[in-house]
């Protein structure tokens, strides 16, 4: 088989375009002095499979952001290993791209310049990347807003620019830290659809963090349920719902409902455990999940 250049290939069936595989093995992370510090992540092990969308769900403030910084390479684990395609990870890299919780678009650049930031940074301002930028602009419905600055866009539009800005780099791994947090319900739903379409189009290994169980089921190939601090993987649930998914179908799907019930049960258990331990975070945890449990 002839090897294709992985750089600018958009074919979702091309094995090279599916991205990397990341393995997290027995990773712990503490802050502060060795024995007196606060352990945020404890003995965490999971894998991000090639081309799969893994959604991590857990209460806010449970150490998810720390885990993201570890995966991005901004920080190093206190113990344990993280490997990318079998090789130990050494630091931040262009192969792993983070889309942050709040928009980190550059305010002084237009939509188009923001999207082209990555290619230009790597000296790839070519007709190919420009075409790709056009295509992404269209995909996220912002062709008419190419010359606008981020401050001239709505919150939902900004997130879409951010997604496009990340996608154009075709990272081997995309890491999304609650990318739709703080959007109103309508916009959020729209964003999830945009994102699901983008994902099917440019399938890559993806790590998606959220606190929203419906969002998790709608997007995920696999859901990781985390415990409260110190964070460990509580359960891993595979989602086999066929793509493309529609919110309406999911509401009626038995599998989806079973997953939801199971996930909420686990999350609630975690909440109760923390509650008994009397941590302050537990109160938030209960508050966040009691509502959902009663619905589910």
């Amino acid at each position: 088989m002839q090897q294709k250049t992985p750089a600018i290939s958009l074919d979702a069936n091309d094995a090279f375009s599916l991205g990397s595989e990341i393995r997290v093995q027995n990773v712990s992370k503490s802050y502060g002095a060795e024995h007196f510090g606060k352990q945020v992540i404890r003995n965490c092990s999971f894998a991000l499979e090639r081309g799969k969308l893994t959604v991590m769900i857990g209460p806010s403030g449970c150490g998810k952001s720390t885990l993201i910084r570890l995966l991005a390479g901004f920080e190093r684990p206190s113990s344990g290993t993280i490997t990318v395609d079998g090789k130990p990870m050494t630091g931040p890299g262009v192969d792993r791209l983070v889309v942050f919780q709040e928009t980190a678009l550059f305010p002084w650049m237009s939509t188009y310049d923001n999207i082209m930031y990555g290619p230009r940074a790597r000296g790839q301002d070519t007709s190919e990347t420009r075409d790709l930028a056009e295509m992404l602009l269209e995909k996220v419905g912002l062709s008419a807003f190419r010359k606008k600055y981020p401050s001239q866009l709505s919150g939902g539009m900004q997130r879409r620019v951010e997604l496009a800005r990340a996608m154009i780099n075709q990272p081997n791994v995309m890491i999304l830290d609650e990318p739709f947090r703080g959007l109103d319900a309508m916009t959020k739903r729209l964003m999830q659809e945009y994102y699901a379409n983008l994902y099917s189009e440019f399938r890559r290994t993806t790590f998606f963090v959220t606190t929203d169980i419906d969002e998790a089921i709608y997007l995920a190939d696999r859901i990781l349920i985390m415990t409260n601090i110190p964070t460990e993987v509580r359960a891993s649930i595979d989602v086999h719902l066929p793509r493309p998914r529609h919110v309406e179908n999911i509401t009626e799907s038995d599998e989806a409902n079973a997953i939801k019930t199971q996930a909420l049960g686990l999350l609630h258990e975690e909440a109760m455990k923390s509650f008994v331990r009397g941590s302050k975070a537990a109160a938030d945890f209960i508050e966040a999940y009691s509502k959902r449990v009663s619905q589910g």
Binding site: A72, F74, P92, G93, V94, R96, L97, V98, F100, E102, A104, F106, P107, W108, M109, Y117, G118, A121, R122, Y149, P150, S151, Q152, R165, N169
Partner: protein
């Protein structure tokens, strides 16, 4: 990023035409009428109002100014002051911006320079006048140096503050998209600091005008015809021409306003993302 800067720039951009503009004009006219009446209170009201009756009335000042604008030596003075302001201001920008950026970027450099900077900063520029007369070979240079100091500290403080306030997520985002250090400097740090540079420049040039006039008064204003507007005012005082004093003051006010407005325009033009919307 900086909402305060954004609104400040927006307000000035919208000020040029509109209700506020007319309000401003009306206020100036009201002030002039009050001033005229006060100055002429002895003949108009039959008794002299305290203080204000000693000031020449605006109509007399206007007559004086009409005379002055036809006088080549007045323009020579105005030109000399403007030149000194420009010299000092551009030197301050040229040295202040790189210094401020270096202080913001390098912790080591910051550690070395900041204490020195903070000790020198509170010294008023005018306190430097005697020292700079002794230090610099020519009168011209010592005035330009004092002018430079006036703008320099303001510009540096603004640049350092602006560059240090850049959101760390911009750096993380740039890094993870493959930016090199020089790329980050050119495409992140520089544009992110531009609004602060613009503010520093606008404030700085105002200080420069304040300082240049005082420096000219103290140092005697150089040789030959016209030693700048500061010397012009001082000379008018010595010569007892009160209308000329006020006319000189007003011309400085106008010159300062024009410089600040011009710099604000440049600032708005260079930071379109703050005002477009």
């Amino acid at each position: 990023m900086n909402r305060g800067v954004a609104t400040a720039l927006k307000v000035t951009a919208g000020f040029v035409a509109g209700e506020d503009w007319w309000r401003g004009i009306a206020a100036i006219f009201a002030f002039l009428i009050f001033w005229e009446a006060g100055s002429r209170s002895e003949s108009w009201l039959g008794f002299a109002l305290p203080w204000i009756s000693h000031i020449p009335p605006p109509t007399a000042v206007l007559q004086e100014m009409i005379k002055l604008v036809q006088d080549a030596s007045f323009w020579q003075s105005a030109f000399l002051s403007t030149l000194r302001v420009f010299e000092g201001f551009f030197a301050a920008m040229l040295i202040g911006i790189p210094l401020g950026l270096a202080m913001a970027v390098s912790r080591t450099f910051y550690g070395i320079t900041f204490p020195v900077f903070e000790v020198l900063r509170p010294i008023p520029p005018l306190a430097w006048v005697p020292a700079s007369i002794i230090f610099w070979p020519t009168q011209e240079l010592s005035i330009a140096f004092v002018t430079f100091l006036g703008a320099f500290f303001t510009i540096v403080i603004n640049v350092v503050g602006g560059a240090q306030a850049i959101d760390v997520r911009y750096f993380q985002a740039a890094r993870s998209m493959g930016s090199s250090t020089s790329d980050i400097f050119r495409r992140i740090i520089l544009p992110a600091t531009l609004p602060s540079i613009a503010v520093g420049a606008t404030v700085g040039v105002g200080i420069t005008w304040a300082v240049v006039v005082a420096a000219e008064m103290i140092s005697g204003g150089g040789s030959g015809a016209g030693g700048g507007l500061g010397f012009f005012i001082w000379n008018s005082y010595v010569g007892g021409s009160y209308t000329q004093i006020v006319a000189g003051m007003i011309s400085i006010g106008i010159a300062g306003y024009i410089s600040s407005a011009a710099l604000r325009k440049v600032g708005t033009w260079m930071t379109p993302w703050l005002t477009e919307g």
